[in-house]
């Protein structure tokens, strides 16, 4: 469904430029949940913005269902890393969630119903009449997730979507993502810096190198389904994969970089 080939991007030009993507190759099949991990600042959000058609990459190609991405692909939803800025402060939480559904041609009662359902899924059924700025950071993040889920996109892009919530809520949201994916046949690209999370929710874990980012690892997660927070995390396969992803994220460490007693 998604074919990314030799994607490159450089921010700015001249001496102050930053080479963010250094030729990323990635293909995602329909219905797959692919997690992308990589060091901070390596270019994960840049990759996601290219897929969403919000940024014209410097080179390479993104094919969505066989067609090159020009502008925003149809049937796409994004949960931005900067969730609070992506919610509209002049609208109630419920209106924020239901606004994108106008694109789907739903009438008002059905939009409201879908918004309430999505808000209930993220545990915010009471917050619909409030405004985003009246909520805590973690609650705002859940509103952003609810808005994307209510839209029922064919492709869901999530940029560190569970970063601001407590551990318990985080697990609930991970499980919600897995459930929703099962029900609605969504393809999901999920960026995270949490290695355990990537292995727990992903069908595949794609590891990016530091800038300029390239794919340094693409691991299939063959853990028993359905995933379960306790059992899956103590499965030997989980432990092995977690270590493998961890090593890939840290990257090759040349011996010279380790501080020796003389230099300390």
């Amino acid at each position: 469904m998604l074919e990314i080939s030799n994607l490159t991007h450089t921010y700015g030009s001249g001496p102050g430029s930053h080479h963010a993507l250094g030729g990323v190759d990635l293909s995602v099949a329909e219905g797959e949940l692919v997690c992308i991990v990589g060091p901070s600042g390596c270019g994960k959000s840049t990759l996601l913005r290219s897929v969403a058609g919000l940024l014209r990459p410097g080179g390479g190609e993104v094919l969505f269902n066989g067609a090159p991405v020009a502008g925003t692909p149809k049937d796409l939803a994004v949960v931005f890393q900067d969730y609070s800025r992506s919610l509209f402060p002049w609208m109630s939480v419920a209106d924020n969630v239901s606004l994108p559904l106008r694109r789907k041609g739903l009438d008002r009662p059905r939009r409201e119903e879908a918004a309430l359902e999505a808000l209930t899924q993220v545990g915010l059924e009471e917050a619909g009449a409030k405004y985003p700025w009246q909520l805590s950071g973690g609650m705002q993040q859940r509103v952003a997730i609810a808005r994307a889920l209510a839209y029922r996109p064919a492709l869901l892009l999530m940029d560190e979507p569970f970063g601001s919530v407590d551990a318990q809520t985080r697990e609930d949201l991970e499980d919600l993502t897995l459930r929703v994916r099962g029900h609605h046949a969504m393809t999901i690209l999920l960026i995270t810096h949490d290695i355990d999370e990537s292995v727990y929710v992903g069908d595949r874990v794609v590891v990016l190198s530091g800038a300029p980012a390239t794919v340094v690892g693409d691991l299939r997660v063959d853990l028993p389904e359905p995933r379960e927070q306790i059992a899956t995390r103590e499965h030997p396969g989980f432990v092995r994969l977690r270590a493998e992803v961890g090593r890939l994220v840290r990257g090759p460490r040349p011996a010279a970089q380790h501080p020796t007693p003389e230099t300390v």
Binding site: G53, K74, S86, W90
Partner: protein, 265 residues
């Protein structure tokens, strides 16, 4: 303790300040510090002002000024907001017209009255045209400034959900800019009142009406100064009330804006 509490209450404190000034004004007249022939006493002006409130001639002047003010303000919004959006969204247009605007903007509107007198035969048309000209600047500038402040991520969010440029303008740029536009309209309302009365005053009585015309015509009366100061007092009250109403309406409509900036502080 009680004094502290009095000073904490904004309106009460303001009323005290005003009463103090009026008291000093009256005292200056009574002690002979300012002779009533040079400047009338507070009591005389206030009783004239009360009389004007029931004076049909004065009230029709007020209605005439307020009518031109309201029409001028509506036209201002109708002209300046779309112009601000055009200039704010098309950088080429802003580059082309920016320098012209920077030249025109500092010209005092009162300086335009003499040429306007030559151009217009109808005084009401002239008054409204000058009001629109002068009041458009704050609205235009605030609209353009507000557009620059729209969060790009808010626009991208809507684009990501497949909305086109028109929907982004209507659903993100406009609501996000609205508080800035409203503040511009509040400033424009004050400018419109000043320009309206100035035009009435400078363009003269024949064929005109309004508070400014009332001021000229009162000049011939025996108690001219008392009438003029009393009428000016009413003009001040009207300006004060309109500003207060705008502030109140803004607070209600844009609670999301003030609440957010308060959080950010």
């Amino acid at each position: 303790m009680i004094a502290r509490r009095l000073l904490d209450s904004g309106p009460l404190c303001g009323a005290l300040g005003a009463a103090g000034l009026v008291g000093a004004w009256e005292a200056a007249g009574r002690t002979g510090f300012i002779s009533p022939t040079v400047f009338p006493r507070a009591s005389a002006v206030l009783s004239r002002a009360a009389g004007l409130a029931a004076d049909a001639g004065f009230l029709s002047c007020v209605v005439s000024t307020l009518g031109a003010w309201a029409i001028g303000l509506l036209l201002t919004v109708a002209v300046a907001v779309p112009a601000g959006f055009l200039l704010g969204t098309l950088p080429g247009l802003e580059r082309a017209f920016g320098p012209v605007f920077e030249f025109l903007r500092p010209i005092p509107s009162v300086a335009l009255i003499p040429p306007a007198l030559v151009l217009f035969s109808d005084k009401v048309d002239m008054k409204i045209t000058l009001i629109v000209y002068a009041a458009s600047w704050p609205v235009l500038i605030n609209t353009m400034y507000g557009l620059k402040e729209v969060d790009p991520l808010a626009k991208e969010t809507l684009r990501a959900f497949g909305f086109g440029p028109a929907a982004v303008l209507w659903r993100v740029s406009l609501p996000s800019t609205a508080p800035f536009i409203a503040a511009g309209v509040r400033l424009a309302a004050a400018v419109a009142l000043i320009v309206g009365i100035s035009v009435e005053f400078l363009a003269g009585g024949a064929g005109g009406s309004g508070i400014g015309v009332f001021l000229i015509e009162a000049g011939g009366a025996t108690d001219a100064l008392e009438y003029i100061v009393a009428a000016a007092l009413w003009a001040g009250v009207i300006g004060y009330l309109s500003n207060g109403l705008f502030v109140l309406a803004e607070r209600r409509a844009f609670r999301w804006h003030t609440a957010r900036t308060e959080v950010a502080r």
